[in-house]
Amino acid sequence: MASETPVFERQQTVYETDPQFQLDTHSYQTQYVDIYFLRLAKLKRIVEAHGRERWDNVEVHGEPVRRVERVLDVRQGELCWVAGTIYMEMPLKPNVLEDIAKDHFISAPPPRQKYRDFEKDKIVIEDESGRLQLTGSKIQTEDLVTGCVVGVMGTETANGEFEVIDMVLPELPPQQERSNLPKTPSQQKKYVAFVSGLGITGNIHESIETHLLVEYLLGEAGSPEDNSKSSSISRLIVAGNSLSEPHAQAADDAAAASPSRATKSKKYGYDATSYNAKPTTVLDTILSDLCASISVTLMPGETDPANASLPQQKMHPTMFPTAKYYSGSTFIPSTNPHSCEIDGVRFLGTSGQTIDDVFKYVDGDDRLEMMERTLRWRLVAPTAPDTLWCYPFQDDDQFVIEKCPHVYFVGNQPEFGTRLTHGLNNQVVRLITIPKFSETGELVLLDLETLECEVISFKSRSSGV
């Protein structure tokens, strides 16, 4: 019987994980200040190189621009440029001290969508020596965030602020040539598929779209034509939030089941009885089904059972009792952010927290633009550790992008979007925002050769309400 229909074989690609974001130690004993120090040490050099290029021998109104070593060396009325880390002083930003102070009053205000407030925000540049407040329309529209390293040119005004005339960023890091590029376009396409926000709840009714997705990827759904296409998808990258937010349902159930008990046993901290294993079990079965045919890279996300601070480490294989037997071949739990090389194409991606957090600082909705900015800042997570939880790195700021990726993806975004961005040194990067599958039903395919994107959306239509 099987002979009647062609057997499709999965296209293979070479996959290499970059262990950049793996943590060896888990000590949270240290201070976060070192991150800023390390970041500045790494990026100042680069920013200054750009600054020299741009401002050496430049004169403004006959006055030559002078380079100043430290922020505190800036003299009033003197045209100069200096490099340092940006800090955004925003009254709307969550502040731990304020939280504690308010603790005794009414319930906390709802979390803000944006922190930006043009009236009250202060933009400050700082280095080891001190701080300098920046002003000027130029800097106001730059959409900066805390943590990015920039060089600014201008003068200090009478009231001690630094009026910015021009600014430089670290810009895109050097990019390696793609090693695999064939001379002529090959016949057989190879895709990498991205999905994020599967949002598995473990409810009895798992969403039908998820099943359709699995069937499609396995090459069971659709005509042989569809199957042949799906077989050209060499691997799937799951960019976070595979499980839905742990909502209070389990807890509610428990409470409903035993109203009397609730009063008796008063538990503090984590209540193990409210643990619901269902979502992970469902995810496990789906993964093990997929892994028999396609390689799956599983990144943890905000709602997944992994550490909350970036970089999130691999989800532990014991959570996937059946899928774990594929580890070492097709099941690849990975970190978030994650970087890897697939057939010579360098990928860098996060599960979305980084861009979601940048979103709060800047004006506007263009996520692709924000992604581009993070690349130009050479920082995967610029706002960590200010408003984004992260690990207190001691030796190296892992969030600095040293090698420019060819593909930069971010999961769990409101909608799909893609475009190319170009660096000053002919770097070309494909930016992709991956929508939440649970909301849009969209799977994003990336052609490994042309770096073009395609979208497959899974929907269901029923006559019912």
Partner: protein, 461 residues
């Protein structure tokens, strides 16, 4: 074959009123998915020609959607702010907003099929997805069937899967060897069921505890069957002993049960249960990893030979007493700490009274199997693990002795770095207890127990 499928479908769809998807059919009959799709279509047609509307179908349509979708995707800034593009790099990128190829996979019911087709510019394929007895309001029913697929059919290895069902083949998939994952029985519910009897026992326990113990044992046994299949017989035997032994004297139990190995440790523990005060705290359902723990423990425990076992038993006897005292202590603490305001008070005396006569009787018999304290370490460890089964078996010896308030926070105990504070407390108390030894039974045990030990134990054999 054709009769095969039509009879299967008729049975399932028409008689059982169930929904059948092509995947389910292919798994049931071990046929290629495409074949299954054909069968479903044929079945749908024949049935409906026999009787209109007797069966209903859903379809999967793939294709390219009409460009409507694309326009919605044009990037517009939702607030009307104008953008001030600042860098030259940005302007370069603005131009290359290319079209993105989109395709769609739609699952539609019979009625919606036309609508689904219309939404597509180009249709790549249409095939039947499922057949069901009547129109379905909600496609969730379909997803139910898909879920059923996972629970009913074991995952085959990749090569077989592609050969039989037509799944895309990936030659490079390697499934690691190893024990197949334990079947996922609904453990949480099970465990919670046997917790219940345990809790009730103490109230009844002033007199012989036969009924409750057996009850608890029964339930417990059920659980064990999963991993302890082979030992079941012994378990049963033990069960026979239980009523008798508990009624007379607990101390005897270990001696009588010379033969039963691993289970003895369980059974030892069991009679103790009745003594436990009813602590109404809710036990956390043991989760999967707990059970894994049990497995480990089993593996570890089995090789232990007769001698150690006997020694263990004796030790456990001793431990049990200590623990009882500790529990006593804990109970008191709890009362003080207000956590368990209820039943405990009246019970204390009860428990003690039960305890002491028994202990008195026990001590003479017990002479022989008093263990060397040093030897107790491994045994204790073993039991310790058992406690991880926790909840049900606070009474189980061992861990508690070393460090377990556990009864309150079972979860912390299986992490080794359990909160230091609760751990420390019982220890301190037990130490104090031992020093002061306010309880009679304990004294007896303490004196009679540890000194005779090894020699006598050999004699007995």
């Amino acid at each position: 074959m054709s009769t095969d499928y039509s009879s299967f479908l008729a049975a399932r769809v028409l008689n059982d009123q169930k929904l059948v998807t092509y995947r389910l059919l292919s798994r049931e009959l071990e046929i290629h998915v495409n074949k299954a799709k054909e069968y479903l279509a044929a079945f749908h047609e024949t049935e409906n020609s026999k009787r209109q509307g007797s069966c209903h179908a859903t379809y999967l349509v793939t294709g390219i959607p009409k460009p409507l979708v694309q326009t919605s995707r044009s990037k517009t800034d939702k607030d009307d702010d104008t953008y001030m593009e600042s860098s030259p790099v940005l302007q370069a990128t603005q131009t290359e907003d290319e079209e993105v190829k989109t395709s769609t996979v739609i699952l539609a019911t019979e009625e919606e099929l036309e609508g689904a087709k219309e939404s597509l510019k180009e249709i790549t394929s249409i095939h039947i997805y499922s057949v069901e007895p009547g129109p379905i309001k909600d496609l969730l029913a379909v997803s139910d069937a898909s879920t059923e697929l996972y629970s009913r059919f074991p995952t085959l290895d990749a090569a077989k899967k592609s050969k039989i069902y037509g799944t895309t083949l990936n030659k490079y998939v390697k499934k690691r060897d190893g024990a197949p994952p334990p079947p996922p029985p609904p453990q949480p519910t099970k465990s919670s069921t046997y917790v219940v009897p345990v809790k009730k026992e103490p109230l009844v326990s002033t007199t012989p505890v036969a009924t409750p113990t057996t009850a608890s044992k029964d339930t417990k046994k059920d659980v064990k069957k999963d991993f302890f299949g082979s030992i079941k017989a012994k378990d049963a035997q033990k069960q026979g002993h239980a009523p008798e032994s508990t009624s007379s004297s607990k101390a005897k139990i270990p001696l009588k049960r010379g033969q039963s190995d691993l289970m003895s440790s369980f059974s030892n523990a069991q009679p103790k249960k009745p003594k436990q005060p009813a602590k109404e705290k809710t036990p956390p359902p043991p989760s999967d990893f707990m059970d894994v723990d049990d497995d480990d423990e089993l593996a570890e425990a089995e090789p232990i030979d007769e001698e150690t076992r006997a020694a263990d038993r004796a030790r456990q006897e001793e431990l049990r007493k200590k623990r009882e005292e500790e529990e006593e202590e804990l109970r008191r603490m709890m009362d003080e700490e207000d956590d368990e305001p209820i039943v405990t008070e009246p019970k204390k005396p009860v428990v003690e009274s039960v305890e002491s006569p028994e202990e008195a009787m026990a001590s003479p018999v017990e002479e022989s199997p008093a263990p060397a304290p040093s030897a107790s370490a491994p045994g204790r460890r073993k039991v310790k693990r058992k406690v991880t089964k926790k909840v049900r078996s606070k009474d189980e010896s061992g861990y508690i002795v070393t460090r377990e308030v556990t009864e309150w926070e079972e979860y912390s105990e299986d992490d080794i770095p359990a909160p230091a504070k609760p751990a420390a407390k019982p220890n301190a108390f037990s130490a104090m207890k031992q020093a002061s030894s306010s309880q009679k039974g304990k004294k007896a045990a303490g004196e009679g127990g540890p000194k005779r030990d090894i020699a006598s134990f050999f004699q007995r054999k």
